[in-house]
Amino acid sequence: MMDTWLILSLAVLSLSILGCMYRLLKGPSISDRIAALDTIGIVLLAMITIVCAWLRTTTYMDIVLLIGILTFIGTIAFARYLERGEVL
């Protein structure tokens, strides 16, 4: 019965990823895209957590953290690149 909730949540989250994709592709400013990308990352992180709960395994938990880290670093990198034209 938990599975029903989880799959329902997954479906809702997929919808929100679609929404983010719209903003990602639409823009218009680069900051918009970065924000969208950031959101995608975080939602993805949530999705994988739910998948873990659904599969009843912690095997993919590393990915959760990984996505968190990558999203963070990615967003910072893009923002800095946008602001200064360089990352480092």
């Binding site: 929100s16 983010c20 912690t58």
Partner: protein, 122 residues
Amino acid sequence: METIQAFGEHALGLFILIGAIICAISTFGLIRLPDVYLRSHAATKSATLGVLIILSGSFFYFMFYLDHISAKILLGIVFVFLTSPVAGHLNGRAAYRTGVPLWKESVQDELKQVREHIREDA
């Protein structure tokens, strides 16, 4: 006991679903709101809330129903807490500095004069 367990499961499931719905609504804001700063409000932070709810729900689910205290989820929560404001801040700043305009119905911009002032000094 079993009823409690079943109830708890439903409660956690609902909790997680609420998180997901919050995420969905923020994404809707991401589509709907008129300028990048406003979208930033909606998206990044509301989504953060939703995700945090989902993560904690999962954490408790693992803890109570799968007998596993997932330190990784906790760490994930901490990390999201820690980093998402920074990301939002930097992105907003970058947007502002690269000249992304505010929504035409914005009422005030106190940063504008300051920056122009600094520019003149420089």
